[in-house]
């Protein structure tokens, strides 16, 4: 039977506030355990939550960015369950009246085609603490530093049909929240996590099949892998005539499998009710308009601008706008050298390769955008050759921090002796010498069929480059050689 895959994603994004959603504790990552957990975060009796204005602003900003209905009244609810990393006994979240209602984003697939994926809602909630299951006298260790960190949970419609679309959606959300500056987007630190809802149905059937939810997938690659192994698992069961159990599963990247997470002795019953400690959040049109005014240029708009105004290809524009950091770096480089296409070639070519090879991201790039731009400008004005540029690039990459030469690309080019000779008189001199020293090759050239001559020029170019120690401008060398050789024919 032919099956259709149905995927919906729930993305949790930590909001980049300084303090927690309901308390004045710091949200900084990596501090010593429980040093950022206040009485409110610990859920001690008698404390009251007070909502963080910045968390609200960030959630509204997200809503505006995806063209969603921002709800003027939203309400916090309690989701009741017992787990030691949530000492209050409930999670404060938004069930019936989320801050952000229906919106949509466009995703771009590998072949450049785009699809619109609707976003059902996004609501505010608090993160839980962390359970450490290493052996502490046979007990579990609890660190509540993360408890109360503000999150938005972004829920998609079940509109994705394969793992690649799901990854494209996750990447696009990542790009949007980082462009907005509302989330640092650091997946390795859990700043964004993704729950993947997956089900299969016979192609053509309207009704959805039973779904499973793969919890807390924390990388783009894992989202693709987890969904694909889960699709396989469900297909095998269904084709054997079995039924899918609705359950929560965990992805194990080492074993490349998903496995059931909890024994379903008692079905979850969260007994949601409006949080009596928090009043409804009410905002007005002016508030939303003021936030809309602060929206930065978003990836789609930037991509379009790179294509329309700078003539970049769709692919190049998409790659270069994928993250805010890369887009900023590229734009600074391009503006410095004044050539977007050349800048795109260098950023996507040499620079990306070096970043990959050294396993650093663009934030950790040892070459500043200003230096790369300055170097590209020197390629453009023929001061250095493409080959010489690679040496300059390598030298810039390896510059010690604080090295003075780092501030002056021209001085670096000089010190490396890579300045091209573009002076026609000097090049003519070298060409004359080479022709005089290779008289027999010149004879061969003259006696050769005209259509064979083109290839033979290469030999002389090589000799001239060698004689100039690689410093001659190759374009000019070609031109002068052709001219001089043709004069002899």
């Amino acid at each position: 039977m032919e099956w259709e895959v149905v995927i919906g994603l729930e993305i949790h994004a930590q909001l980049a506030t300084k303090s927690k959603i309901f308390s004045g504790s710091s949200t900084a990552f990596g501090s010593e355990a429980n040093t950022q957990a206040s009485l409110v975060d610990l859920g001690l009796p008698g404390v009251l939550p007070v909502f963080n204005a910045e968390a609200l602003a960030m959630a509204v900003k997200f809503g505006c960015a995806i063209g969603a209905d921002v709800n003027k009244v939203s309400v916090f609810d309690r989701k009741n369950y017992f787990y030691p990393d949530s000492p209050k006994g409930y999670q404060t979240t938004q069930l019936h009246h989320p801050i952000v209602g229906m919106g949509a984003i466009d995703i771009t697939l590998d072949d450049g085609s785009t699809r619109t994926i609707n976003v059902t809602r996004a609501h505010l909630e608090e993160d839980a603490g962390k359970s450490l299951h290493e052996d502490f006298q046979g007990m579990t260790g609890i660190d509540l530093n993360r408890a109360g960190t503000p999150l938005i949970e972004i829920v998609s419609e079940p509109e994705m049909r394969n793992a690649k679309e799901a990854v494209a959606y996750f990447k696009k959300m990542h790009s949007i929240v980082t462009y907005l500056g509302i989330c640092d987007g650091d997946l390795s630190q859990g700043s964004m996590r993704c729950d993947c809802n997956v089900s299969l149905r016979p192609k053509g059937q309207e009704e959805f099949g039973t779904r499973t939810e793969i919890k807390n997938v924390n990388s783009f690659r894992f989202v693709e892998q987890a969904i694909n192994v889960e699709i396989e698992r469900q297909r095998d069961i269904l084709e054997d005539g079995g039924v899918i159990t609705q359950e929560t599963r965990l992805f194990d990247a080492n074993k490349m499998e998903t496995r059931s997470m909890r024994s379903k002795e008692v079905a979850n019953d969260y007994r949601y009710f409006p949080c009596p400690d928090l009043l409804p959040i009410v905002i007005d049109d002016d508030y939303i308009a003021a936030i809309t005014d602060t929206l930065p240029e978003l990836p789609d708009a930037k991509k379009q601008r790179f294509m329309d105004e700078q003539g970049l290809s769709e692919y190049d524009a998409r790659v270069l706008t994928a993250t805010r950091e890369l887009a900023t770096y590229f734009e600074e480089t391009a503006e410095k050298c004044g050539d977007f296409k050349l800048a795109a070639n260098w950023v996507m070519g040499e620079l990306s390769a070096a970043l990959n090879k050294n396993e650093v991201d663009i934030q950790g790039c040892p070459i500043s955008s200003s230096n790369l731009g300055a170097m590209i400008a020197r390629i453009k004005d023929d001061t250095i050759s493409g080959k010489g540029a690679k040496s300059v690039f390598a030298a810039l990459w390896n510059l010690e921090e604080g090295d003075k030469k780092g501030d002056d690309v021209d001085a670096l080019i000089d010190s490396l002796g890579l300045k091209q000779v573009s002076d026609s008189g000097a090049i003519e001199g070298i060409v004359d010498d080479v022709l005089a020293n290779n008289a027999s090759q010149v004879e061969n050239y003259i006696s050769a069929e005209p259509d064979k001559r083109g290839k033979m020029v290469g030999f002389f170019v090589g000799q001239v480059m060698k004689a100039s120690k690689g410093s001659a401008n190759p374009g000019m060398v070609n031109k002068v050689l052709k001219q001089k050789l043709d004069e002899k024919c």
Binding site: N34, T140, P280
Partner: protein, 95 residues
């Protein structure tokens, strides 16, 4: 609406309360009575009434995003029955 013994056991499980068999009967009566009281309210016509999230007419006040809490771990942990390396220790739970 009358609750049966299984309902009471389920509610107790959700609240992580241990009930003896004798207790269950008493809770069955008490909780059922509460639900009956609530059911009486269902007789009131609420067609044109917006559900409210809070009994007062007030709206949530916001605080500015400033870190105001300092590290008080030693004090906060002084009541914890078990701790190690700054972590609260709890019975092993893997859900």
């Amino acid at each position: 609406m009358a609750l049966d013994r299984e309902d009471v056991k389920n509610i107790a499980q959700l609240a992580r309360l241990e009930l003896s068999d004798e207790d269950i009967g008493q809770y069955q009566t008490d909780l059922s009575n509460i639900l009956e009281l609530v059911e009486q309210m269902n007789a009131v016509n609420t067609d044109d009434v917006q559900p409210m999230a809070h009994p007062t007419d007030a709206v949530q006040r916001l605080r500015s995003d400033v870190v105001t809490e300092t590290n008080q771990r030693e004090k906060y942990m002084s009541n914890a029955p078990a701790q190690e390396n700054g972590l609260f220790l709890v019975p092993k739970v893997i859900d």
